[in-house]
């Protein structure tokens, strides 16, 4: 009896230990996996705000530990303490709410963010109480010149779609091309269809040549400039029309020309017929020429004809 009780106690003890172990292992909010901080380069951006809000554009190429520093000169009532926090894309960043002391007539907020991928890019704001806000827009270099009008081409023809990164911006590592398929983008691989697509890349320019167009090729095309941190997109719309399209106004105009010419010639014919019948019947005081005397211009050498 004592042995079974001992065993039971041992089991219960074992159970309790394992439960505690399990309890401690219950997944609470886990912190996101961090790249080891020491391997990333560091960079710093600081903005000093005098008014109520400010937006700063930050262009990033590579993953970086970015320290953002906000300094605010405060408003009329300089409270000694003020609550400050950080926001990313509108949502408040965890554990960022701090109390800021007024130091040397300024409030300061500083935080380091790990910018590693496309998700880390976006809008970061430091907010002082409910009065002042500085927004940092983190993004890879954007493609500036985007052709807003669609490129028009014909079925069976080939078309060149180009994208260019401005000289003032850093050049991308490479370029990708995507075609919009519903709401997603499908990357275009030249090797899959070498007869139809051709991609010509230079450092800052890229050209997509599409051969043998069909109506299905129309739509939005995206060129992606690949940077270490993310890929920025530019889009161009392609419209493929059949040759019937311009043929309609063409034929309309040709018909108009034919009608005009016919009308002019018919009018002239009717006029001359009318005058012929008129002339034959007319008896004026004017002299009418005699046919015999003048057979053509060569006939007489001293007579001139005068039209009345």
């Amino acid at each position: 009896m004592a042995a079974s009780w001992k065993r039971l106690l041992f089991h219960i003890l074992l159970l309790l230990v394992s439960c505690r172990h399990i309890n401690t292992k219950t997944p609470g909010p886990t912190p996101p996996p961090l790249v080891p901080i020491s391997s990333l380069p560091t960079d710093e951006r600081s903005v000093s705000l005098k008014g109520e809000s400010h937006t700063e554009n930050v262009e990033l190429l590579n993953p970086v530990n970015l320290a953002l520093q906000c300094t605010w000169t405060g408003n009329q009532n300089k409270l000694p303490n003020i609550t400050g926090f950080w926001r990313k894309d509108g949502d408040e960043v965890e554990n960022s709410r701090v109390t800021v002391q007024l130091e040397g007539d300024e409030y300061e907020l500083k935080r380091v963010f790990s910018i590693v991928s496309e998700e880390s890019l976006g809008s970061y704001s430091c907010v002082f109480g409910s009065e002042a806000k500085i927004e940092f827009v983190l993004a890879a270099p954007q493609i500036g010149e985007v052709r807003d009008k669609p490129i028009v081409s014909y079925v069976g023809d080939s078309v060149v779609i180009a994208c260019k990164m401005e000289e003032t911006k850093p050049k991308p590592g490479s370029w990708n091309w995507y075609k919009a398929n519903g709401t997603d983008k499908e990357q275009i691989f030249v090797v899959a269809e070498p007869l139809r697509y051709e991609i010509k890349n230079e450092e800052r320019k890229t050209k997509l040549v599409v051969h043998n167009l069909t109506e299905a090729d129309g739509g939005l095309y995206y060129c992606g400039a690949v940077y270490a941190i993310s890929t920025t997109m530019g889009h161009v719309e392609l419209k493929v029309i059949s040759f019937q399209e311009p043929l309609k106004p063409f034929i309309a105009i040709v018909i108009e020309v034919i009608v005009l010419v016919a009308a002019i010639l018919l009018y002239e014919k009717s006029q001359s017929k009318k005058n012929y019948t008129e002339g034959n019947g007319a008896t004026d005081q004017m002299n009418t020429m005699t046919q015999g005397e003048n057979n053509g211009p060569e006939g007489s050498s001293s007579t001139r004809q005068r039209k009345i």
Binding site: V152, V257, G279, T303
Partner: protein, 489 residues
């Protein structure tokens, strides 16, 4: 004499024409066809941007397309006028219209730049050459008193249509891409055929010569015939040669502001918009100048050649003043000089053609205009590269403009060496010298046009048909009156 004159103005030809006014119909045809030739040529720049992207060629290579077109138009002008002398003007112009349209239609299928040179350049240029000069000559043959005015009205279409065509072409290119737009342009160019259909057939006095020579079909006869169609005999006619030389010198300097004004204004420190606006303003006064000068010249207070001299001298002066005004830094001064230059250059354009029948007579006018176009094109070909060279050598445009203005003034001075330049009265244009039987069948219309108010012989005599006598030179000539074209056959 005075009875028949107004009729001669309004009437077309042997056929019975509607009472007065057919000449004005032809002016309308000239307006439309000139706008479809030169107005179109000037607005082709919109396509060039597309071509650069599609064919991946440089802008310079693409700009050769319009240079080829213009060169072809001027080169084939004598061919066009010779064909009109040999055959019917109507057929020639309609053929020209078809060729111009065909050129653009074929260009829409182009797969390389060379195709564009051949189609838009050569074929369309040939078509334009067959259209422009014959139309101008035909319209001029229908008017005497209002000749310069109708020319001014006809040429004003160039400026007006390029205002309209620029946005239109932009729209076409955006909707149909350049291939479709060229196709539609080809159809538009076919409207020239309709303009040509309006020309009533004329009995050319040269046609009998053809009948004559066909009896002996030797080489010499054919050559003589061809040279008479081309009016090659004009090349030894001193007044014509002097005039052509003057116009060629004029052409050397005339186009320089069109090519370089914008670049020069930018260099002088004005913005892109300001420079473009100066060009547009000069274009607007150009249109105005053509019409005003045409109207004023026809009032008859001054001789046409004197008026032409005035306009060319002023134009040359203003070209020379252009760099001065812009270097002074004042936008107002640049604008003022450009407006004045635009006005003068438009004014002289109307007159340049109108003076030709005064020098060579109306029957030879067709061939004369063709040869004039060909020879003056050499001036244009010389002028633009020369001005570019001067700019490259000196670093700015001042030398180019001054030299251009200098050539224009030199052309004016050459014009003053024309015979009887300094007489105040307009002299009668030369009658065609008789060459065998050919000229006996002179078109009565042309007879009329030779009459000028200052005919000194038989002055004051006003003969009408009933007297069966007419004054020609100093002699009385028997005439036979007829009423209907059919009577002539």
């Amino acid at each position: 004499m005075t009875n028949a004159k107004p009729k001669a103005e309004g009437k077309s030809d042997d056929d019975e024409a509607p009472d007065g006014g057919w000449g004005w119909v032809l002016v309308g045809a000239l307006f439309v066809s000139t706008s479809l030739v030169f107005g179109l040529m000037r607005s082709l720049g919109i396509f060039f941007v597309e071509f650069v992207q599609y064919f991946e060629e440089s802008a310079q290579a693409i700009s050769w397309i319009s240079s080829t077109g213009l060169a072809a138009q001027q080169f084939f002008s004598p061919l066009g006028t010779a064909l009109c002398n040999a055959y019917d003007t109507r057929v020639v112009v309609m053929t020209g219209g078809c060729l111009a349209g065909l050129g653009f239609i074929l260009a829409s299928q182009a797969t390389s730049l060379v195709h564009l040179y051949l189609t838009m350049g050569v074929i369309s240029g040939l078509g334009w050459g067959l259209v422009f000069t014959p139309m101008v000559a035909t319209v001029m043959a229908h008017f005497t008193r209002r000749r310069t005015l109708v020319l001014g009205v006809g040429f004003s279409s160039i400026g007006l249509s390029s205002f309209a065509f620029n946005p239109l072409f932009q729209l076409l290119v955006e909707t149909y891409a350049w291939r479709g737009a060229l196709l539609i342009l080809g159809a538009l160019s076919l409207n020239i055929v309709a303009c040509g259909a309006l020309i009533r057939p004329r009995r050319r006095s040269k046609a009998p010569a053809k009948v004559d020579s066909e009896r002996r079909s030797s080489c010499a006869a054919t050559l003589r015939r061809v040279s008479s169609y081309l009016e090659l005999s004009l090349l030894v006619d001193r007044p014509y040669v002097v005039y052509t030389l003057a116009v060629t010198l004029l052409n050397v300097g005339y186009f320089v502001p069109y090519f370089h004004l914008v670049a020069h204004s930018r260099q002088a420190g004005f913005s892109e918009y300001q420079a473009a606006f100066v060009m547009s303003a000069a274009g607007a006064t150009d249109i105005l100048g053509r019409i005003v000068s045409g109207w004023f010249s026809d009032l008859g207070h001054f001789r046409l050649i004197h008026l032409l001299t005035v306009w060319t001298t002023l134009a040359g002066l203003f070209i020379m003043l252009l760099p001065v005004s812009s270097l002074s830094g004042s936008y107002a001064a640049l604008m003022a000089i450009s407006l004045l230059y635009g006005f003068c250059s438009g004014a002289l354009t109307s007159l340049v053609f109108a003076v030709v029948p005064m020098i060579v007579g109306v029957e030879r006018m067709m061939g004369a205009l063709g040869l004039l176009q060909l020879i003056e094109s050499s001036g244009g070909l010389l002028g633009t590269p020369l001005s570019g060279l001067l700019k490259d050598v000196t670093g700015n445009y001042t030398a180019s403009f001054v030299v251009a203005g200098g050539f224009v003034v030199l052309g004016t001075l050459t014009m003053t060496t024309l015979p009887h330049y300094f007489s105040c009265k307009e002299l009668p244009p030369p009658q065609r010298r008789s060459l065998g039987n050919k000229d006996k069948g002179l078109d009565p219309e042309l007879e009329q046009m030779h009459r000028s108010p200052t005919d000194t012989s038989c002055r004051g005599v006003n003969e009408v048909c009933s007297n069966l006598k007419e004054c020609e030179g100093d002699n009385w000539v028997t005439i036979t009156c007829w009423k209907n074209a059919k009577d002539m056959e």
